[in-house]
Symmetry: C2
Subunit: 242 residues, 2 copies
């Protein structure tokens, strides 16, 4: 597994990964609430304070755990039986990836709730969203529609796109973006950047306007309403076709 992080020296990264790995295993066994710094330290045969050399605090520990298992999704996807034709429609790609994500997170029953509690966007999470977004854009969807589609699926599927493009709920306002960092982000997350910035290129809209929470909520709601009504009109049934 390759998790790219702000790297210091290799010894530290090795130790940090072991801490996170053990934390994930322990949470699998006893749940996330029962996973305390002290309990984890005991598991590692070390004094509680030793953990703080590898992890700033409990919040960062949880972030790291989420990062670790979200990173596993890629492996789950790769290990599938059917290799999937080189080029398929976006629907098939999204379906495969979403079901792989679900299978991965289901192996860690605590992960759903913890993911929803996180506000930090770690690299593995951004990587996942990047892959997801790129599938939609490659399918020909506009950045506009992709943007709304991400918001609409976010809550139910992983919970972590929820606040992705929207900083308005953060207690501390985001610092003005450093141009160098923006460039680095654009290189690594081209699809996310395309989706997040399309409004700036739209001459008809105010530059830099953020998300409209209400509009996105109603988009998702109407998507659901229209879909259900159409199934209703088609006399949909869950019974297997005979």
């Amino acid at each position: 597994m390759l998790v790219a992080q702000t790297l210091n020296e290799p010894r530290v990264r090795l130790r940090r990964e072991r801490v996170l790995r053990e934390a994930v295993d322990l949470a699998d066994a006893i749940g996330a609430d029962a996973l305390t710094m002290r309990r984890l330290a005991e598991q590692l045969g070390v004094v509680p304070m030793a953990l703080y050399k590898h992890v700033a605090n409990r919040e960062e520990l949880l972030d790291g755990m989420v990062d670790l298992i979200v990173g596993e999704i890629e492996g789950e996807l790769a290990s599938e039986q059917e290799p999937a034709a080189a080029s398929t429609d976006w629907q098939t790609g999204v379906r495969r990836r979403t079901l792989a994500a679900r299978r991965t997170l289901q192996r860690h029953p605590w992960s759903r709730r913890v993911i929803e509690g996180r506000t930090t966007k770690t690299t593995a999470v951004l990587d996942y969203i990047e892959q997801f977004s790129s599938l939609l854009l490659a399918g020909g969807l506009s950045p506009d529609l992709t943007h709304h589609a991400l918001h609409a699926i976010g809550g139910r599927m992983w919970g972590f796109t929820q606040e992705l493009f929207d900083e308005s709920h953060d207690a501390v306002p985001a610092p003005p973006p450093d141009p160098a960092m923006l460039q680095a982000a654009a290189a690594r997350y081209p699809s996310i950047v395309a989706v997040a910035t399309f409004r700036a290129h739209d001459p008809g809209s105010v530059v830099g306007r953020g998300c409209d929470d209400d509009a996105e909520f109603e988009f998702a709601l109407d998507l659901w309403i229209d879909g259900i009504e159409r199934l209703h009109r088609r006399h949909w049934s869950s019974a297997p076709e005979v």
Copy 2:
């Protein structure tokens, strides 16, 4: 506000409501994590242990808080400007109710996360789901489709239908249902019961089979995929129509 509960004597209920009301206000001010039993007791000018006469423990406190604010949805709905024609299609009814729920929960920023953490189904929550289900059934949707529709919207909109019909994740298996309680439940929650039990009346299916998590997940996923693809084909745009 009317919150029906397993009632003991009126004095206790009065006190309990005051504890819950204060807890909600305090959580609004400092967040749910910072809301500790001790902090709440201080706010009420009372020693921490005094709370335990009105609430079994912190979990029950949170349940009560959720119950209180979910109960507010009905009032929010009633206080709307447009009185809404007596008979409309189910879509309009569901839309109004869902947006009223959203407005209510938005006034309590901590509520979304807390609701998702709860596993208990309190009365106000069941009442809300009952209203919601009855709108769909009255609209002519089959219990089968209603069932799947509830699962599909659950996560995103309120988070609390998630495990409604599915006990498989509970640590303790549900006790065999008491016939008298079932009858009482059927009286108060006819739509929920209709949705939850329709399989038993379907001759083609195994009686009593529970939910199929995987099938419901894929139902919601495909609902989303199909909806997005249809918008894509229609060249959907978020820009206001000119």
